[in-house]
């Protein structure tokens, strides 16, 4: 087990190098730093001096991968590739294009993101499981049919409409919740209820339908039939035999997204003005702050890989038949 995990960690390294190279190529090779400077300073009537200054301020004036003017190791380290890309491996994100420290911003904004994402995940899981268990219990009946239709219909509505609808209806017209904003500590709760509610509701469609398929896959298996044959009630069969076995794919589906909860929800956070990493990313995209986008791409990849690793571990914990070696 330990040996397997260590080997998996080593597998992650080339993937991270790949992500790093990909972002480097996207951000510095496809377009030169001059292009970026021009976009930021406005296209028209930009003096060369202004571009040079913009680049120097942000450290984009170095050569790409090889500094022929420097000597020794500096030829490699005093370059954009080393300063901006390699340093990401040490989680040194550097400064954003507007001069703020990205690492500090991330450590600050992580918590509001988690405060929103964790309740959504837990409540969403409970609601989806309950709903899909009901559908599985009444499988083949009109209730099941219309339940699935409802799920498909809910899946077909863009997430934007859930957010806008919820915000206008519950926030503005009925004034049940504040429309947007955030506060520190426990005061934040009242700002989080509405976005969390919307986050849960918008995921019911796809989540419940998927869980229902998982339950139905188990429901026809032999051991479930034997359980029924020995006289157990249908509810007990569902709760003990079906549910616990279907829990394995459900749990792994949850575990793989656990680390990425840090990244927050892009839309919810930006609509409700929650200062998390999701709105941080959106703000960066909209103000075309390449340094932040680059950092978030790398961070997202790391968290995704951690998620995959956790999935493997949770498999062995949840299902003793699976051995990793």
């Amino acid at each position: 087990m330990m040996a397997y995990l260590i080997r998996r960690m080593f597998y992650a390294i080339p993937i991270l190098i790949g992500v790093n190279l990909l972002t480097f190529v996207l951000f510095f090779v496809v377009n030169s730093a001059d292009d970026m400077a021009r976009l930021h300073l406005g296209n028209k009537r930009v003096t060369d001096a202004a571009i040079t200054e913009w680049k120097a301020e942000r450290g984009y004036d170095k050569p790409l991968v090889w500094n022929s003017q420097a000597s020794g190791m500096d030829a490699l380290t005093d370059t954009i590739f080393y300063q901006k890309s390699v340093k990401l491996f040490a989680f040194d994100f550097g400064s954003s294009d507007s001069g703020r420290h990205i690492g500090y911003d991330i450590s600050q904004r992580m918590w509001p993101s988690l405060a929103l994402a964790i309740p959504i995940m837990i409540v969403g899981l409970a609601v989806n499981i309950a709903f899909s268990l009901i559908l599985a219990f009444f499988r083949g009946s009109p209730l099941d049919f219309w339940g699935v239709v409802l799920c498909v219909a809910m899946m077909s509505i863009s997430g934007l409409f859930y957010i806008i609808g919820g915000q206008v209806l519950l926030g503005k017209l009925w004034s049940l919740f504040p429309i947007s904003g955030y506060d520190v500590g426990s005061n934040a709760a009242k700002f989080l209820v509405l976005p969390a509610l919307i986050g849960v509701v918008s995921a019911i469609g796809s989540g419940s339908r998927w869980y229902r398929t998982l339950f139905l896959e188990e429901i026809n298996k032999d051991f479930v039939r034997s359980a029924r044959a020995k006289g157990l009630s249908e509810a007990l069969v569902l709760a003990k035999h079906v549910f616990r076995n279907a829990l394995i794919p459900i749990l792994t589906g949850v575990v793989v997204v656990l680390p990425t909860l840090f990244m927050g929800s892009l839309l919810l956070e930006s609509f409700f003005g929650i200062p998390g990493l999701g709105s941080y990313t959106i703000d960066a995209i909209q103000s075309q702050d390449f340094a932040i986008v680059r950092a978030m791409v790398f961070l997202g990849a790391v968290l995704y890989i951690v998620g995959l690793l956790l999935t493997d571990i949770s498999y062995t914990l949840a299902d003793p038949r699976v051995r990793l070696d």
Partner: protein, 456 residues
Amino acid sequence: MPFQPVILLTDAFIFLLLIMAGFLVWHVRRHEHLLEAWRQVGQRKVAMSAAVVLLFYVVIGVLDSMHFRPLAENADNKIQYDTKVLSVLDLALTQLREQKEKTYSAPFATHLYSKETIETLSGTQRDYPRLVYGGAHLGEGETVVADVLVTLIKSAALGVALTAFLYLLVYRFSARERWSQRGVGSHQVVWLTLTVLMSSLVALLWLSQNYHVLGTDKVGEDVLYQAIKSIRTGVVIGSLTTLVMLPAAIILGLMAGYFRGWVDDVIQYLYTTLSSVPGVLLIAAAVLMMQVYMSNNQAEFNTVLERSDMRLFFLCLILGITSWTGLCRLLRGETLKLGQLEYVQAAKAFGVSDWRILLRHITPNVMHIVLIVIVLDFSGLVLAEAVLSYINIGVDPSTHSWGNMINSARLELAREPVVWWSLLGAFVFMFILVLAANLLADAVRDAFDPRLKDQS
């Protein structure tokens, strides 16, 4: 010629897609086992109804992809074309396109949504001014409700009549029994859906002559027109993206699964790397880079339309690059399994070349996966467009799209009183398309996935 055809990049791909769809139909008709699976889809009432709706959207999208420049009026008899590019759909919706008001007006309104100072005989007063087009034909004492109701009834009758005509036309040339033989087992549903669609189409066209059915936006443009024009963008993104990614996904997936060894390692590494970057961020990074490129090379794009079309195509490309990994992984797994089967082993023993085995023996047997992924992805991509446009990394702001409609409507919600009809328009048109795509995708998956077939 009275017009000069203009073929934009995405138009060309749409036509290519149509040709491929035609080829697919021809191919399916010659193969009994494929026909059988499609018959199974044909038996599902919901799926057939969804297919008719989808077909409606596709027809509108194709009509909107036939672009041309009309002949411009000029004094001397030189042949000169207008600089403005229109589509066949624009031609059909000329009234809708040209009946512009001054600013916001509610659906079926006869007056503007905001008060203005009006000059009357008895001096000036602040009131809601009369619309130029909305309800302009109404005389004294005629109410909007009565007029709309009458038009609705008339257009329902016309819709039924049109469908009945079509019904007779179809069954005049091919007997009903042959249709059931071909597998359209649920023709009542098809005709019912067609009737409903025809009636609503007639009603919309009729009503929009005299009203703004979905109101007007800030600059007085008809919202219904915007929503209809957005259909093309949605259809293009949903279909072109998959078309763009298809070759890469199929070739790499098959190669990884068949050749194994280092080829497999390299391809697996490639798609794991790409899929480990969160999708939105990769798209954002690529679109940002595209924006930089386009703003630095503005000379390459002659017109605004060409530029926005290029951007739409780039967006499809980028979405395709981020979404091919899923299909590639599925194909690799399936090819791994197929490569072990006896018929492939036999082909190998007979000395058939690897490429021939891949082409003749493996590709046809993984195509069901490709088909399922194409239809399943469609709805997700249409939804993704809206979200991307909201973050400003979607289609060009000058392109009509539901995402852009939502994006601009968001600011109007903060206005007092609320302007809600842009949102309603985008919601209804998008919801119907995505719902139909989801329902059809379900039926196609059930019919083509052998794993599901064994269970039932």
